[in-house]
């Protein structure tokens, strides 16, 4: 499903060149639950941006479901993000002035779904994460854990093949964090492919496969559980 070969990403900061990704090879199959773990600055978010088609690599190849992504233009990348990837961010990234339901509807708006379909699927998606009674709450009226669940509902609403989560528990207390991880586990059991990025070893161990990254290189790739 995902195949990355010899991927490099460099940031040029004046005189110095930061090698955020330094030759990554990674292969992820459908239905996997992979944790990418590493210390701060190791290149996790950069990798996530590549996997999520938010950015293009300096060199290397990236096949996502048979299409070579590293060569696509901005609009094509937007289409892929819309239909193939569900993002869950550390900072939730909900739009404050929209209700939970409207936030979840957003990806479907850009997909071009009818308003009836949007409403039904978004409602169902929120019910799936246990927020069926919070449809019309604004993000500010929800707890951190609830906001992150809205974000997960949003990531799932278009039924994308891949869920990408960058430090999804980073802003949460451990109880809410555990809830979120349990949701991911459940989603994985239902067949979703999940890539979870974290600096927390303890959380990483809840995945089925752990990929360790250090200075832009993969140092370890192992099955767990």
């Amino acid at each position: 499903m995902i195949r990355i070969e010899n991927m490099h990403k460099q940031y040029i900061m004046g005189e110095t060149v930061v090698k955020a990704l330094n030759g990554i090879d990674l292969h992820i199959r459908a239905h996997e639950f992979v944790a990418v773990v590493g210390p701060s600055g190791s290149g996790k978010s950069t990798l996530m941006n590549m996997l999520g088609c938010l950015d293009t690599p300096s060199s290397g190849n990236y096949w996502l479901e048979d299409s070579e992504v590293s060569e696509l233009n901005e609009d094509k990348l937007a289409e892929i993000r819309n239909s193939k990837i569900g993002f869950v961010f550390q900072g939730f990234n909900l739009i404050p002035k929209l209700t939970a339901l409207e936030n979840v509807e957003l990806p479907m708006i850009y997909l071009g779904s009818s308003s009836k379909e949007r409403y039904e699927k978004s409602k169902k998606s929120l019910e799936n994460v246990g927020l069926g009674d919070r449809l019309y709450h604004k993000p500010a009226e929800l707890s951190g854990g609830q906001q992150q669940r809205v974000a997960i509902a949003r990531a799932l609403v278009t039924k994308p093949p891949i869920i990408l989560a960058d430090e999804p528990t980073g802003n949460l207390d451990s109880k809410s964090g555990d809830d979120i991880i349990n949701i991911f586990k459940k989603l994985n059991d239902e067949g979703n492919t999940i890539i979870l990025i974290t600096h927390d070893n303890h959380i990483a161990m809840k995945a089925k496969r752990v990929v360790r990254i250090m200075d832009g290189k993969i140092t370890e790739d192992m099955e767990v559980g």
Binding site: E79, F87, F89, N93, I109, G112
Partner: protein
């Protein structure tokens, strides 16, 4: 993404910041309101003058003597002679002396305009008498201090008494009211009703001006106007060395002049409108730029979950156009209210102009597109990763 969605988003965004949206619209509201009001009054006064000119008919010729201190000044008597020798083409001639005077009756004081003229003036100007009589030749011959007053003068000086045979003071001199003019419903600013008419000979003394420089002449038919003008010119050239010393013009020429004045007026209004709309547009651009910066993160989120450049561009553009469009509608409402109120007060006649209402609405939409384009494009080009990182 359907356009309907973009509209909904725009409405939401506008409503989420009502005061700011309103202040942003204000430039457009005032611009459009001012344009519509100004156009209505410009067209209104033009229309009433035009109506008046056309109601006087196409037989009218005006002569205006410009030269001064000539030892051979043309006299009313000369022109009266001339017209009696040309009865086939000229049916009436009236001299006029005009000025502003102060009327007094009892304790009531009123400023009005005075016209000194002859009996023909009523015929030429199609004025009729409501009560009493008009000026007669004998009033002129005897330099009688008689006055015919307009209905507005009557209403102010004689609110509940009969004016006939009452004595009023015009600039301190005593005159007898001999008649009241019939009211002219659609007169310009009511000036046709707000006037006093006295014999021209009396006026020459009262105004300390023995020289008459304005004459109104009625041709027998519309066809004889041109011939009458030629003959008048020939006649006047006996008194003056060149044709620059006097002006002879007819109703059609007056309408032409009026048309060009209206054109200039509309041009000036258009200029003012353009400036105010540009200023409004710059205000919108400014606020939209602030809004794009404030909503950088939102833009990042939208892009991350699949919004294309086009979607973001359209979203912000529609928002800008909606702000100016709503501003335009509010401006139209404001303008129409202003027209109605000022019209009710009877100060200036107004004409509602649907074309201008549509045009100014259209222009406000264009302002939205033009000035919204730069901020919207800025939003559309944001890099999603940087936008998401923006705090």
């Amino acid at each position: 993404m359907g356009t309907w969605q973009a509209y909904r988003m725009a409405i939401k965004s506008i409503l989420s910041n009502k005061i700011r949206s309103f202040l942003t619209m204000l430039g457009v509201i005032i611009g459009v309101g001012a344009v519509i009001t100004a156009v209505a009054f410009a067209q209104g006064s033009t229309k009433s003058i035009t109506d008046q000119l056309t109601s006087l008919g196409t037989n009218l010729i005006r002569v205006n003597i410009r030269a001064r201190n000539s030892n051979r000044d043309v006299k009313y008597a000369d022109l009266a002679d001339f017209s009696s020798q040309n009865l086939d083409i000229i049916s009436a001639i009236a001299p006029s002396i005009s000025g502003n005077v102060t009327l007094k009756y009892g304790t009531i004081i009123k400023d009005t305009s005075l016209i000194g003229t002859t009996p023909d003036y009523a015929l030429i100007n199609k004025r009729s008498i409501q009560s009493g009589r008009y000026i007669l030749s004998i009033d002129n011959d005897l330099r009688q201090k008689t006055a015919v007053i307009g209905s507005a003068v009557k209403n102010e000086l004689f609110p509940d008494t009969e004016p006939l045979d009452k004595s009023i003071k015009i600039n301190g001199e005593i005159f007898k009211v001999i008649g009241v003019l019939e009211e002219v419903a659609d007169g310009v600013d009511g000036t046709d009703d707000d006037q006093v008419i006295i014999p021209v000979a009396t006026a020459q003394r009262l105004m300390k001006n023995s020289r008459i420089s304005n004459y109104t002449i009625l041709a027998t038919t519309a066809e004889s106007v041109d011939l009458a003008m030629v003959k008048l010119e020939e006649f006047l050239l006996k008194f003056y060395s060149d044709s620059n010393s006097f002006n002879i013009f007819n109703s059609a020429q007056m309408l032409d002049t009026l048309g060009s004045i209206t054109g200039i007026m509309m041009g000036v209004l258009g200029g003012i409108a353009t400036i105010s709309l540009v200023v409004g547009g710059i205000g919108i651009m400014n606020i939209m730029l602030v809004s794009v910066t404030e909503r950088t993160r939102e833009i990042g989120i939208r892009k991350a979950i699949g919004a294309k450049r086009k979607n973001i561009l359209v979203q912000f553009l529609i928002e800008a156009v909606m702000v100016t469009g709503i501003g335009g509608i509010a401006g139209i409402i404001l303008g129409v209210c202003a027209i109605t109120i000022i019209g009710k007060m009877g100060l200036v006649p107004a004409v509602y102009s649907p074309i201008w209402i549509f045009v100014s609405f259209g222009i406000s939409l264009i302002v939205g597109v033009v000035f919204g384009m730069f901020p919207a494009n800025k939003a559309a080009r944001l890099n999603p990763i940087e936008a998401l990182r923006y705090e």
